[in-house]
Symmetry: C2
Subunit: 189 residues, 2 copies
DNA sequence: TTGGATGTGTTGGATATCCAACACATTTCA
DNA sequence: TGAAATGTGTTGGATATCCAACACATCCAA
């Protein structure tokens, strides 16, 4: 998951930068945050910032990935199989993430955020599929993970478009049998 | 006061080490705290510890000095003259410090602690005397600062020996005229 | 007694971070 | 318009931190 033996200086500095960015995000809009602001808040040199991140968009991506990953693993570590509970807790994590971002001001980056969500979902789905499918066609599992990640992300977009009012578990629950048993579930054939 | 332009790495690392030591002190006795404990808690390398401190006693001294200095400056920054208010707030800072240490487990280091208190007092008294005595006999001011520091420290020891029950300002107030106006205060001559 | 386990303090080479300086773009404002 | 101010991204040399290894001391159980 996380790199095993990292230089503690790197962990420390990345955390300082990311935490400062999150802190600043709660006070300013993203477009008003400069790299100088971040490095001043973090008490690190501006050159050091560029040692770790390409630019401020790279930082944004990595912070969002990190936040989402923590959310996912938090709710999800108990499950070891893609059952109903797993799908529900994944979907709740995604909707929580979307909700928290709709307050923060990251408007104009919906496509970036969508990509990040799908990337993280793809990783987690692939991992779960590998675990429960004992070494079958690897390529098929990968593509299945892609399809699931787009699907679940799409569901969260739809949930958002409906005003984020329906409880997420309710929103997703009815469709889960189709996810788990496939489209044949309930088929007349 | 504090060095003006310090390398931020140094400030960061010292703070990490000191904070970790304070944190550990609230859980263990001083004698049970190893340097490995501190560096692990602080997530810094053991060699880095020795770059900043001679040994664990050196760290103890510097932490205590720092804590006391913060207390002193906190209560004291408003005063710019050695009047009654100044003496009272200094004495309160010292007794607070003694009280906080009597909970923590630094037994066996009373002499070290006493020395630290007197050193800090001496610095602060000397600074105040210089400010209000427009360039007179420098040596005399230094020695006066020494005498005041021993005196006030002694008062705090006595206050502690009496069970730390009398309110510190009450304990010190009656003697302040003698400190400010000298032994001639109230003299019959 | 001995030998392993644990803690202290030191060292040399590798690496991350700092700093000052630079070139370039964008904004501000006179 | 143009010039000052502000922000971005890069560089080279200096310095703090990391890491693995070492020598030494202390403690404790076989």
């Amino acid at each position: 998951m996380t790199e095993t033996k990292m230089d503690p200086r790197i962990l420390r500095t990345r955390k300082l930068i990311m935490d400062s960015f999150i802190e600043l995000s709660s006070k300013k809009e993203f477009k008003d945050i400069t790299i100088k602001d971040i490095t001043t808040e973090a008490m690190i040199n501006r050159a050091t910032f560029y040692y770790h991140f390409e630019d401020i968009y790279d930082l944004l991506e990595k912070v969002l990935s990190e936040v989402l990953l923590v959310n996912l693993n938090c709710d999800f570590y108990k499950c070891d199989h893609l059952n109903e509970e797993a799908f529900v807790s994944i979907f709740i994590a995604i909707t929580n993430f979307q909700k928290s971002l709709s307050n923060r001001c990251h408007r104009g980056y919906e496509d970036t955020i969508g990509r990040i969500i799908r990337e993280q979902l793809e990783v987690i789905f692939y991992k779960m599929l590998l675990k429960q499918n004992k070494m079958e066609d690897d390529e098929a599992l990968k593509i299945t993970a892609v399809i699931l990640s787009w699907g679940i992300y799409g569901a969260s977009v739809e949930w958002k478009r409906n005003g984020m009012k329906v409880p997420p578990e309710e929103f997703i629950k009815s469709t889960i049998p189709y996810l788990i048993s496939g489209t044949d579930f309930g088929s007349k054939i």
